[in-house]
């Protein structure tokens, strides 16, 4: 599946496109098919997100899993500061990242 991510303009937090809005949980991410570019342009122009981009992910039993390790680190937070994890970490556990 193709999903969208970016950072919140004000807070800088990592966010994921859930079809209507930007969510803090990667597991809310929806498949945008080939609409990615269009949604990104509109959302960026509306300042609802900063520096967004499209990426490939897969839907697994544990939820949505980005294909690249960098995006999985973005989804959960630094692997070395598990105390600061994005709340979805409890769902997936850290093995999910690596």
């Amino acid at each position: 599946m193709n999903i969208l991510t970016g950072n919140d303009l004000k807070t800088g937090e990592v966010v994921w496109w859930d079809g209507q809005n930007w969510s803090l949980s990667v597991h809310d991410a929806v498949d945008v098919g080939d609409m990615g570019e269009q949604i990104l342009a509109a959302e960026e122009a509306a300042r609802r997100v900063n520096v967004p981009y499209a990426l490939v992910a897969s839907r697994t039993e544990e939820g949505v899993r980005p294909a690249h390790i960098k995006d999985r680190v973005r989804a959960l937070g630094p692997t070395v500061r598990r105390d600061l994890a994005v709340p979805t970490a409890s769902k997936t556990g850290w093995d999910w990242v690596i």
Binding site: N7, K10, T11, G12, K70, P78, T79, V80
Partner: protein
């Protein structure tokens, strides 16, 4: 230490207000990210993997306790309770909100700090010897010269858009504690045969994807021509540096491609021309700066400690360094607890270090490029009291310059450019050696880890270096041996094919085994490597 005059303060305050307006215009949608990005970068605000990141300049790594306290307060108030000290003696916050950025800069300005020129293709924070003013082996304190260069390079209109970033280090001892020859310009303050003090210039060093050791291009520049000579070096670079290719834009490539001789010839020509124009600041300015760095009022006292507590004795042996006054030492506070994150300190730890500096070190602290903190002037008589407080705050690790004193860049845990994580390797390696008890036996062993070819973790200069690479979407690590950033500077060589995480941790153990087996009396790891060469290490790793 240096105190802002009214011009310094007015410039920094004006910049804060300018940025406040820029950030507001971005939040209001009057600026696009493309328009805003260069403006935020000029104020040290990056967008990283998880959030905005703010890099704060710490000129030549020197801080007073008020400043360190403010850094700790900012960590708690605006970030998640910690900050990261870097190899360029700066501090980075990882979780900054754009909404707060201008307020943070205002808080910094109140203690004479800022984030200006910590990004972009300009002259960056000038680094120096972390024992400056305290070292027993220095000719003079290099910091007044670093400060003069800081003033010259701040907002220098001609050098705001260089071909690429530009880093300068200034030292004044034969022992190089600032990786001087791995900088774009390395300056060593020296004495000539006539007994006059001047500066040796080394130009075109650097790490990154094409590491180079800077050649000396001038043995002696009189001190009253120092800035003019630096200006000439920059001018030639600004004119001929490769603006067409980001990867070839650093001055090291220019000096390499043009040849040191031809580059020097052009610098000398430009220098002669600039001398006629009189661009050198008046000596009075240097004389104004110098008293800020005058020695504090040292007092005579005991010259040795009570060694009955072995833990304390070990810390004294490992983490304190000879001072120019024999009743004092420089004490190193390790930010490398076993299994910890190299260079991270909590807000509480920063405030505690500030308090201890005030109490025991004439109000002064230094950031080391190895991501530790120095209290430069501690009375030997106060060491036990100091150590007791450090121990209680998890700041008393006795591991300076050992295999546990690892430099690691943020890597894939924080950095958008990374291929692999660096910090977990540092954590596991320090745990390993703490557990197997070999840290002491191995003696001086500098291990440095970068998460990608940009080499922020100085892996090229590690006795043992580790570089994270991407192997078909998984983390992989290249091992290298034989680097040094000290006065015996050299670049490390790659051992061979890379390893996965477990593999590279095992490989580090293997190379230390080879060393212990082969070493002769008094040899450090690096000395043994230089004597026996790569082959025995390769055989042990790959056969």
């Amino acid at each position: 230490m240096y105190q802002y005059d009214q011009y310094d303060q007015a410039m920094v305050d004006a910049r804060v207000e300018e940025f406040r307006d820029q950030a507001q215009r971005r939040l209001d949608g009057k600026l696009t990210e493309d328009q805003f990005k260069p403006l935020r970068l000029m104020n040290g605000l990056y967008l990283q993997l998880h959030a905005y990141m703010l890099r704060v300049a710490i000129p030549y790594g020197t801080l007073n306790s008020r400043q360190m306290t403010a850094l700790g307060d900012i960590a708690d108030k605006y970030d998640r309770g910690y900050g990261h000290f870097t190899t360029r003696q700066n501090l980075q916050y990882n979780w900054i909100k754009l909404e707060d950025a201008a307020d943070i800069l205002a808080d910094l300005s109140k203690v004479e700090m800022h984030a200006i020129q910590t990004s972009g293709n300009c002259i960056r924070n000038i680094s120096s010897d972390h024992f400056a003013g305290a070292a027993h082996d220095e000719l003079i304190d290099p910091r007044p010269y670093a400060e003069l260069l800081r003033q010259w390079s701040s907002f220098h209109p001609e050098f705001t858009y260089l071909p690429r970033k530009f880093k300068i280090a200034v030292i004044a001892a034969e022992t190089d504690r600032a990786a001087m020859r791995l900088h774009d310009i390395g300056i060593q303050i020296v004495k000539n045969d006539a007994g006059e003090i001047g500066a040796s210039f080394y130009v075109g060093g650097g790490m990154g994807r094409t590491p180079m050791i800077a050649p000396q291009i001038r043995e002696f520049v009189p001190l009253d021509q120092l800035v003019t000579y630096a200006e000439a070096c920059l001018r030639v670079y600004n004119r001929y540096g490769r603006r067409d290719n980001k990867y070839k834009a650093r001055i090291k490539i220019l000096v390499h491609e043009m040849g040191a001789e031809e580059y020097t010839r052009q610098v000398e020509e430009e220098f002669a021309h600039l001398l006629e124009q009189g661009v050198e600041p008046p000596l009075a300015e240097l004389e104004r700066i110098k008293p800020f760095f005058a020695d504090p009022a040292f007092e005579d006292g005991p010259k040795s400690v009570d060694r009955s507590d072995p833990d304390f004795a070990l810390w004294v042996d490992r983490n304190t360094v000879r001072h120019k006054h024999d009743s004092y030492v420089s004490a190193v506070i390790s930010l490398k607890p076993v299994g910890g994150i190299p260079g991270d300190a909590t807000g509480d730890q920063m405030r505690l270090m500030a308090k201890l500096a005030k109490q025991y070190s004439f109000d002064e602290l230094r950031v080391m490029h190895t991501q530790n903190i120095v209290l430069p002037h501690v009375k030997i008589a106060d060491l036990h009291a100091l150590w007791t407080e450090l121990e209680a705050a998890d700041l008393g690790a006795p591991n300076l310059d050992t295999i546990e004193d690892i430099i690691a860049c943020p890597g894939l845990d924080y950095c958008a450019l990374a291929n692999a994580r660096s910090i977990p390797l540092a954590q596991r390696i320090s745990e390993n050696f703490a557990k197997n008890g070999r840290t002491e036996e191995l003696g001086q062993l500098k291990l440095k880890i970068s998460g990608c070819i940009n080499a922020c973790g100085h892996h090229h200069a590690g006795h043992i270096g580790i570089l994270g690479v991407d192997k078909k979407g998984t983390e992989n690590y290249q091992l290298s041996l034989g680097g040094s950033e000290a006065e015996d500077v050299s670049l490390a060589k790659i051992t061979g094919p890379g390893f996965d995480e477990d593999g590279v941790i095992k490989a580090v153990e293997t190379v230390t085994d080879v060393y212990l087996e082969a070493r002769e009396d008094g040899e450090r790891f690096l000395d043994t490597y230089r004597r026996i060469g790569m082959t025995p290490f390769k055989e042990a790793l790959y056969d």
